[in-house]
């Protein structure tokens, strides 16, 4: 089944009888070439690019709940490539390029919307730092614009420009950044992978790894043993407890990050706005809700829900930045598990166990990485070599002293 405008019109006129499920629900086979653990955006994108680029491989994605029930369905959907460090920026720019072509590639409307992101500037020092970041972005081809206070005022007239503590002095904008529909991304990749022969196995929790003589032979699951020549783990916030089953300790702590959405409003916010100094960022969904969040709660958590102090902190930031937000009613708030790493940057690498591969440590920013993480993890799984934009995302960077620490705060996950 191919989606097109023509198909939508035809189905509307013929009683919508021609739509089919987007993917099958197969029982697990006894063995695959590659088993991906975790049916979030990353796991499904990995399967999609494996099937698309390395089509002869037999691939399965094993998900403990339903696909997209983790962070893929809980994030605030911001996509951007506005990083500073050379280990990161080319990777995120590849991801942005894949976003720009995602809907054509998967024939699915993922609602990629490049409405731009503006990081607000409050001090001269911050402007210098953002100018430097903007230059790094331009070198990578991502594009960047340094905005004056007046330019920001023209685009976002509703902000409080004269807050005594954090007056707005300008902004760094990436016009190509924006948002995508998170569930649409999951469904698009799932459908594309399924159509290329990938088995997506839901309600199937990996409970252990079968490892003999340092080599992985498959995964133990709630639906029995599944053999695999290679296993790729991509379980985001659950990385610690899943890799512990293979006897590994990781440079990761699991934390909880909360997000919120208001009632639906008429279009008011053109793109994404970040108020880093006040721990607040916001965008508006296509349904009209203001989608916003702030910092992680800051303590180890697997609870998938946060506590009230962060709710207070986030809405305080919102009120300081755009007082009109106080008139909107809060509809929902929720939490997701984020895999915070020791330098705030990800890992896409082999492990010390032959045939066992790992993609994780995405911190609070792995949604934007979904296409490139899938692409690069597929590349690693199929070729045993890191993709050229992911060569820095190694386990051994910590012991070798090659950390990728965008914030420069050291091995303290709750500060990244």
């Amino acid at each position: 089944m191919k989606f097109s405008g023509f198909k939508v019109v035809k189905e509307a006129l013929t009683g919508h009888k021609g739509w089919a499920p987007l993917w099958r629900n197969p029982a697990p086979k006894a063995e695959y070439d590659i088993v991906i653990v975790g049916g979030g955006g990353h796991g499904l994108a990995t399967a999609f690019y494996l099937a698309k680029t390395f089509g002869e491989l037999k691939v399965a994605v094993v998900e403990k709940g339903w696909i997209g029930s983790g962070n893929a369905g809980r994030n605030t959907t911001i996509i951007r490539s506005n990083y500073l460090l050379p280990g990161n920026q080319p990777f995120y720019e590849l991801s942005m390029k894949l976003w720009e072509n995602l809907e054509q590639e998967t024939n699915f409307n993922s609602m990629v919307s490049q409405r731009g992101i503006i990081n607000l500037i409050h001090t001269d020092g911050q402007r210098d730092a953002y100018r430097r970041r903007g230059n790094a972005m331009m070198i990578s081809g991502a594009g960047a614009r340094l905005l004056s206070r007046d330019e920001v005022k023209q685009m976002l007239p509703f902000l409080n420009f004269d807050n005594a503590r954090f007056p707005i002095k300008g902004g760094l904008m990436q016009p190509r950044a924006g948002t995508a529909r998170h569930d649409g991304v999951v469904w698009g990749y799932a459908r594309g992978a399924d159509a290329r022969g990938v088995d997506i196995i839901q309600n199937c929790e990996v409970t252990g790894f079968r490892i003999e003589n340092g080599k992985v032979l498959g995964v133990e699951t709630s639906r029995g043993f599944i053999g695999a020549k290679k296993v790729g783990v991509s379980v985001a916030g659950s990385s610690g407890r899943v890799m512990a089953k293979a006897g590994m300790r990781l440079p990761i702590e699991s934390h909880v990050l909360q997000a919120f959405v208001s009632e639906g409003l008429k279009p008011t916010i053109p793109g994404v706005i970040t108020f880093g100094a006040g721990h607040f960022y916001v965008s508006q969904s296509d349904k009209g809700g203001l989608v916003f969040g702030g910092d992680i709660d800051g303590y180890n958590s697997y609870a998938q829900r946060g506590n009230l102090p962060v709710v207070e902190d986030v809405v305080e930031g919102g009120m300081a930045l755009m007082p009109m937000i106080g008139r909107a009613r809060l509809l929902r708030g929720w939490g997701g598990l984020v895999d915070m790493s020791m330098d705030g940057s990800p890992i896409i690498d082999k492990t010390g166990i032959e045939g066992l591969y790992f993609n994780g440590a995405w911190n609070y920013g792995g949604f934007k990485a979904t296409p490139a993480a899938g692409y690069c993890f597929a590349h690693l799984l199929a070729t045993d070599h890191p993709h050229e934009v992911a060569t820095a995302f190694r386990f051994d960077r910590f012991e070798r002293g090659y950390v990728i620490d965008e914030k420069g705060v050291g091995a303290q996950p709750n500060l990244h």
């Binding site: 659950s238 440079p251 702590e253 303590y299 697997y302 506590n307 012991e399 091995a411």
Partner: protein
């Protein structure tokens, strides 16, 4: 979350800053063989358990003591708190 401070009673966790796994109190011996690898593990690797976790909280806006809090990371339930200074530094747990 309310932390049962051994000296001050129940205190709001907002008064504290969080450091992480209490295993950080077991600093490796820099003079021992293999100290470099031991320090690398100490600085960068964590058990990160889903369940009971012993962790260091600093009562920054209180009496500035370090506590070892035992907490369930799957429910946020706090199971106990001890003064870190009462625990023997460097003792094997």
């Amino acid at each position: 979350m309310l932390i049962p401070h051994p000296l001050l009673g129940l205190r709001d966790s907002q008064e504290f800053t969080y450091l992480g796994d209490a295993a950080l109190m077991q600093r490796p011996d820099p003079a021992a063989d293999g100290a470099e690898a031991a320090f690398c593990d100490y600085v960068f690797l964590r058990d990160n358990p889903a369940g009971v976790h012993r962790e260091l909280w600093f009562h920054e806006q209180g009496d500035r003591s370090w506590l070892v809090v035992t907490r369930d990371t799957t429910t946020h339930e706090i199971l106990g708190a001890e003064l870190a200074s009462n625990l023997k530094l460097g003792a094997a747990q």
